[in-house]
Every structure is written in C-alpha cells, then in structure tokens.
C-alpha cells in the first residue's frame, strides 16, 4: 500500500484508522456513526462539490476513514485520486427482461453503496445470519480497512443495440433502449495492428472496482458477480496493479512497465474547467446527438465515456533496447520524465525544437509527440490505467502490459483520432499489442440524498 499523501488515509486520520483496525468492519461501523474525527477526514480528502453536499445534507453521509462517498454528481472512481489496484469486469446480460436489468442495477447500486463505505455486501455480513444459509457477504475483507474502494458502473453499446452478427446482421435491441443510444457510443473502428481477442472485448455492462488493496477490489467484483447470477454473466475481467496515471495534483506520476513515467500531462481533479471540457458529457452533447441520430441521450449528461484497451507490452524485447532508443521512442527522459526538448517533468514539450542536423529533439514518431494534445486538436483525456501481469505465455514470456483506461467526453474526438495516429505511426507500436478493447458510457452519479429505494445507477436511462 502506498504511503504517499494522496491516498484517502492521510496522516491526520491515521490514529482513527489504526484504532479501528482492531475491530471488525461491523464493529467499526458503530464507531464511525458518531465519529467526528472521521468527518474531518472527509473534508481533508474531499475534492468535489458532491462530497461537500453529502456532508451537509445527510448527517449519516459516509465519513469513514479510507472511504469515498458513493453518491454525488459524478460517479466515484473517475476523478478520485487513482487507487493502487483495480479489478474491472465486463458482464453480458443473460436476461432479456428490462425489469430484471433494472432490478440488477438497483441491487448493484445498493451493494456498491455499502461496499464502498466498508460495509458488508448484505445486511447480515459474512459471519452471521441464518446458519443454514450461505453468508450474504463472502468475507475475505472482514478485517481489512475500506482501502478507498470505489465502484464505477458503465454501459456497453451492446446494451442498447445488441451485438451485430459476423455477417453484419444488426444486433437485437433487447431492452427497448436503442432510441437512447448516445451518438458517441460507437463501435470502435479497427485500428492498425489491432490483435484483439474477442473474449477480452466489449460487454453489456462493465464494473470498475478500484482500491488500495487488491483483495478489497476483487471482493467487490466477486460479490457483485454473485448478485448477478441469473441476470448477467461475467464476460471478461482484468486485474491491474500499480496505477499508471495520477488523477490528482497531489499524486506523484507513476511508471508503466516500460519503466517510464506515464500520464504526466493527465487531466487532474483540480482542474474542473478542463474536466467539463474534456471529460464530463454536457447537456449540449445530448442536443447535438439528438440532431445527429434522433436518439435521446440526455440521461448521460454529467456522465462520461470509458475507453478500455488491454495493451500487451513485449517487455522482453523492450528490455534489450538501449536507453537512447527507449527515450527516443517515448520522447521523454527515463529518470525525470522531462521532454527531450528540455526542462523538467511538467515542462511542455517543445515539438519545434531541433538539435544537431536540424532533427527534432522530440522525434516525429515518438509517443509523446503523437499523443500530445497539440497533435490531436487540443483534446485531452483523463487517463486512469493500470499495469497488468497475467502469468506468462506458452513461450515463457510474461503476459504483461498496460491496461489503458481513459475517461473522455466524446471518444469520436477524444480517443479515436489519436489512437488511429498512434496505431499507424507510433514507433512504440513495435513493442505493443492491443489484445482487448471496450467502449462504455458511464452514467452520472446517484444523487446525494436520493429517495430510499428509488435511486440507482443509470436510472435516467430507464425513465
């Protein structure tokens, strides 16, 4: 677990956290109910308007050490300072009943609201309840702190229009949602050099669980999967470690498995104007979408889009590459992460700067140049990826890489053009293989203080 000051357990709250560790999660709850120290912490860790509202409008608003509010204008797990671990799971619905789908989202919402506050998945918890029934929580986090768990839900294109057959026959709109399909929730085009494995792509629903403890993240997905039996089945899932982006200026820039700092130029929680411009879907987007396709996607206002790409790195060959070539491919120094045009990590790369022989200091096929906003019409992304290592392949090479996650306002402008360029021109592609892919619409958050039993994630889509 990281000890930097960006996790949701800053030093100020450490005594409360430590005192609480001696108790079970159930016991801890009793303490937190009246814990003034915990409220103070929430203020420390707070970052968004929604959180502040939660603290004032509902006295019981989540305020436990190491937790983030589940409710708010936007879902948690997007601008939340990136936790260290992630378990992301994509589900396919096995039901064709809209009612069942809504019921699942209600159940998931209720469960996620509990889990993110460090509570058990069900009211009895893992070690009580009817002795002849399986416990309503699986129990592996019983003595663990909440670890900053966030759970973020999103919808795939197939939820709205089904999956087209290989021969191009359109998919089936199983839930009467085709006329609510956001115009930007497109099928991602085939990018050059794509090596996608269908069993790692797409899905009707996706759930991203992030926490500073992998067991807490996996526990969340496990219990949500259990609640889905009979309605949805797991399609694919991915574990990630070592966040590869910082989403807050309070976080240091982490490194990917190439050993380079990643996400230096990322959008940050502290820049609300840039988030509104590049991440959050605006009301105007729904209007533009309606004009374009006739579909009503107002339900997504305040939400965002999640692009997921499983990018395998051929790290064995990368590790045989000279430092000179590694830095030239990335366009930054390996140590500091400064652009090769000079300065320090956060200096803007000077793409015009040339060196001996008039050659650009930041090479024309370098990753930084091709991914830079100035090369992509000024668009920016909120990246929130993780490293992964899924054992090894049959040839004795690590199946490792970057699980790229980015939240954007419109993938047609904020992701697809950039990836098209990267896939064609980025010299780094020699060491990369995109093996999984998904694009999902992330609905806005469940409002603070919503009516009991009423609110659920994505509710506006069904009304």
């Amino acid at each position: 677990m990281t000890t930097d000051d960006t996790t949701p357990s800053p030093d100020g709250a450490a005594p409360a956290e430590q005192a609480a560790r001696g108790l079970s999660r159930r016991g801890l709850l009793g303490l937190a109910g009246g814990g003034a120290a915990a409220l103070g912490l929430a203020a420390t860790a707070g970052f968004a308007g929604g959180r502040a509202q939660a603290a004032t409008s509902a006295p019981a608003a989540p305020a436990r050490p190491g937790t983030y509010a589940f409710t708010g204008e936007h879902q948690a797990g997007i601008v939340t300072p990136a936790q260290d671990r992630m378990h992301l799971a994509a589900f396919d619905l096995t039901t064709t009943s809209r009612e069942d789908l809504v019921e699942l989202l209600r159940t998931w919402t209720a469960m996620a609201a509990r889990l993110t506050q460090g509570l058990a998945a069900g009211p009895f918890g893992p070690a009580s309840g009817p002795y002849d029934a399986p416990p309503d929580d699986t129990g592996e986090v019983l003595d663990l702190p909440p670890a900053g768990l966030t759970i973020t839900f999103a919808f795939g294109r197939s939820l709205f229009v089904g999956t087209p057959a290989p021969d191009g026959t359109p998919g089936v709109d199983r839930f009467g949602l085709a006329d609510r399909l956001p115009a930007a929730l497109v099928e991602l085009p085939r990018f050059a050099q794509d090596a996608l494995e269908p069993q790692r792509c797409d899905g009707d629903l996706v759930v991203q669980a992030c926490a500073d403890d992998p067991q807490v993240a996996v526990h969340a997905i496990r219990n949500l999967s259990r609640a889905a039996f009979g309605t949805a089945t797991l399609r694919w899932s991915q574990l990630g470690y070592g966040r590869t982006s910082s989403t807050s200026t309070t976080q240091t820039t982490p490194r990917n498995l190439f050993g380079f700092k990643d996400g230096t130029a990322n959008l940050k929680a502290e820049d609300p104007e840039a988030l509104a411009e590049h991440v959050w879907v605006q009301a105007a987007d729904a209007e533009a979408g309606r004009a374009e396709t006739g579909a009503d996607s107002a339900w997504l206002t305040g939400g965002t889009y999640l692009v997921a790409r499983r990018i395998r790195m051929t790290i064995e060959t990368w590790d045989r590459t000279s430092l000179r070539e590694q830095e030239a491919l990335i366009g930054r120094t390996k140590g500091e992460g400064a652009p090769l045009s000079g300065g320090t990590e956060f200096s803007e790369p000077d793409l015009e700067a040339t060196g001996r022989g008039g050659l650009p200091l930041v090479a024309t096929d370098s990753h930084v140049r091709l991914a830079h906003p100035s090369t992509n019409g000024g668009v920016r992304m909120l990246r929130r990826g993780y490293n992964f290592t899924d054992g090894n392949d049959a040839l004795g090479r690590l199946d490792a890489g970057l699980f790229f996650l980015a939240f954007v306002r419109d993938p047609r402008t904020h992701y697809i053009p950039m990836q098209s360029t990267l896939s064609r021109q980025d010299a780094l592609m020699e060491y990369l293989r995109h093996t999984g892919s998904g694009l999902y619409a992330v609905p806005p958050g469940v409002p603070d203080g919503a009516e009991p039993g009423e609110a659920f994630v994505g509710q506006a889509l069904f009304t």
Partner: protein, 404 residues
C-alpha cells in the same frame, strides 16, 4: 445500548438514503428509533451459567435475529418456544463457550418464551417474550411439521424408486458387458447412470459407496484400487494413447471384466439395501442440501465435461442432477412457499429456463449429443443457467430450517 443493535441502526441510516427496499431480506429495520434494542429486529442474548439475558422482552413481528453469545463455560443452546412453552419455534444448538451464533427467525405476533440451556440439560433458563404486531407480512401458519414429514416421505419414496431402477439397469448393463456385447453396454451406460445421478447425494450420505461406484480416474490417488462406473466406462470407450498419458490403453481381460461387473452389481445392491432399510430417513434439510449439492455437481463436473471423460455422456448426468434437484424443490415446495414465496417463484422461473435449455439438446428418452460436440457458446449458456439456479437454491436449506 448493546453494541450490535447500535451497529445495525447505524448501518440502516447509512444505507437507507440510498438503498432501502433494494435488499429483500433486510432485517425488519426501523432505524428511526435507536433506543429500543429490539425495534430493528436485532436482539442480543447473553447465555451464562446462571442467566439468559435477552436485550429486550419484546420485538416487532417480522425477521428477528437473536445474536446469542455464550459467556459461560458449558456448551449452550438457545430456544424460542411457543406460548405453551413446549413447541420449539426455532433453536440454535452447540454454541461453544465464548462463541456467538445468530438465530434468525420469522416471528408472528404472539407470546413466546426464550430459553437458554447451558450444559444442554433441563428445561433451560426461561423468560417470557412478546412479539408485537408490526404490520409486516409473515408467512401463513401451516402445520409445518406435518408438511415436512410428507416431504420426507415422498422424497424417500422417490429415492427408493430410482434406486430400484438403478439395480435393474445395472444388472442389464453388467450382463451385456460381461457377455462382451460392448455396443449394448455402451447404449445402456448413460440411461442407467441417470438413476444414480438423480439421487447421488443419498449415496454420498452413505460415505464409502459413492467412491466405490462413481470415482473418476482423475480422482484416484497413487496406488488406489479403482472400481465402479467410470472404470468400466474407460474400457468401453478405450482412449487413444495421447488421451491416456501417452501410453496405449490395455483393455480389461474377461476375468477383469467379470470382477468389475460384479463389483458394480454388488455395491449397487448395497445401496438398495440401505435405502430400503426400515430406519432409512432423509430429513428435509438433507433434501434441501442435496438439491444444492446436485447443482454443485453439475457446476463442478458436468458443465466442464470432466465427469464422463471417455464416453462424453455428461448431458445425461447433467439432466439427471437437475431432475433430482427439481424433485427436491417440489417435495419441499409447500414448506418453502409458506416461508419465502419469492424464493420459490425465482426457483420455478430459473429451473424452467435451465430445463428449457437442456431440452434444446435432447432428453433422457431421446438421447443427447456427446459433450465434446457442444459449441462453447452452448456450454457457457448452460453454465450461466446452472449458476442462475444455484444461487437461490443455496437459500433453500435455511428457508426450510427456518420454517421448522
């Protein structure tokens, strides 16, 4: 205020703004009133050598949870008794010193007694207990004991019927096999095993018979003798060397065949003797657990195609396991419905979906495709349908024991 009650009250406050009503089995929680330990349906019981301290003397009708802590030195028990002080509404046994165990009960309005029985002797330390009318709907009162007795009797009858068919079928199969009529034996193999697979949890309850009759080669340990159905299966569907650890399969000699067939017949007869014994019973909780185990069997061995690795007749076993689980639900239906009608409705719906999916592949009468012929998508759909049934089915035992 006792801590667990506070815990539950705080929990309700946290969750209610967002999620109340989403979770069907939330204990009757009225978070507004945190002053009465019982108002949220959660009570604590401290059972010591001399005392049985219940945190409240009354509680609203609905789901009540008695969290019983044994603070004495002897093993204790806790009972909720009817107004007559005789009828056991629900009980929790074998609480060791220092342990806490929950008794969850659906309580209707009325007068009751609570009783702790430290040392498990005597009438226990009793106190009057009142359940007030909260307006919450609690299932109708039936004569549960009688319904359970009926359920047990009809399940035992089903078991005897299946085992009788198994005995007959096994003899015919053994005869064909010993006679060297392999084609006839292969035809009889799966339809005969169906009778075994339908009641397998009963056979498992006899301990040693199950491994003698149904052990797979993969389950053998070094040097262990192998007998039963799968031993013969391998001989009838002799594997190629690459499926046999790289060595050529050596067919059984006529003498070995005779011995293997005799074992099969003998052990099956032992099973028949046991289920036809006068004192053979299979209690309601065993029936419910058995139903879940049958689905676990499907999820663990059949849906992966590992059960019938040589004959690939897994779909017959699959169907038989589902049949057996369905019969268990059917015989327990009245009791379960009174306790949790929603659970039974879910089971009905999901069993129907699973059986429809299986029917698309065939039936025991008309035959099934071999498992290696199934498409991966079909297998995944079957697995999802099995999971869909298994999750609610895992609640059946508690529902039955909660009603007893």
């Amino acid at each position: 205020m006792p801590r667990p009650a506070l815990t539950a009250a705080a929990l309700a406050v946290l969750v209610l703004p967002l999620a109340a009503g989403c979770v069907a089995n939330e204990p009757a929680a009225s978070a507004a009133d945190g002053t009465d330990g019982a108002s949220d349906g959660v009570l604590t019981v401290d059972s010591s050598a001399t005392d049985c301290a219940v945190s409240a003397t009354e509680a609203p009708s609905g789901t009540l949870t008695f969290s019983v802590t044994n603070s004495g030195d002897d093993i204790t028990e806790f009972y909720l008794l009817g107004e007559d002080g005789l009828r056991v509404i629900s009980e929790v046994e074998n609480i060791g010193p220092g342990l806490t165990r929950d008794l969850v009960v659906q309580a209707r309005p009325g007068s009751y007694f609570t009783a702790c029985k430290p040392g498990m002797v005597g009438d226990g330390i009793r106190a009057e207990f009142t359940v007030t009318d909260s307006g919450a709907e609690v299932g109708p009162t039936g004569d549960t004991a009688e319904q359970l007795a009926t359920a047990e009797a009809s399940y035992v009858a089903y078991v005897k019927d299946q085992v009788a068919s198994l005995v007959t079928g096994t003899q015919a199969f053994a005869d064909a096999y010993v006679a060297g009529d392999d084609e006839a034996a292969r035809q009889l193999y799966a339809p005969t095993r169906v009778h075994w697979e339908r009641v397998e949890p009963v056979a498992e309850s006899f301990g040693d018979l199950d491994p003698l009759l149904d052990l797979r080669e993969a389950d053998l340990e070094e040097g262990q003798a192998w007998s039963g159905w799968h031993y013969v299966e391998k001989d009838l569907w002799a594997p190629a060397p690459e499926d046999n650890g790289g060595v050529a399969y050596t067919p059984l000699t006529p003498e070995q065949r005779q011995a293997a067939a005799a074992d099969l017949v003998r052990y099956t007869q032992q099973l028949a003797d046991q289920v036809n014994a006068e004192d053979f019973t299979f209690e309601a909780f065993q029936i419910a657990n058995g139903a879940k185990e049958l689905l676990d069997e499907v999820a663990g061995g059949k849906v992966t195609g590992e059960e019938e690795i040589w004959s690939h007749t897994d779909l017959w076993d699959f169907e038989a396991n589902v049949d057996g689980a369905w019969v268990a639900v059917e015989v327990l239906r009245d009791v379960a419905e009174a306790e949790d009608a929603e659970l039974v409705a879910t089971l009905d719906e999901r069993f129907a979906a699973l059986r429809t999916l299986l029917a698309e592949q065939g039936s025991v009468d008309t035959g099934f495709p071999t498992y290696d012929a199934l498409a991966q998508d079909d297998i995944k759909a079957l697995a999802a349908a099995v999971d869909a049934v298994s999750e609610p089915l895992s609640q059946l035992t508690a529902t039955i024991t909660g009603a007893a």
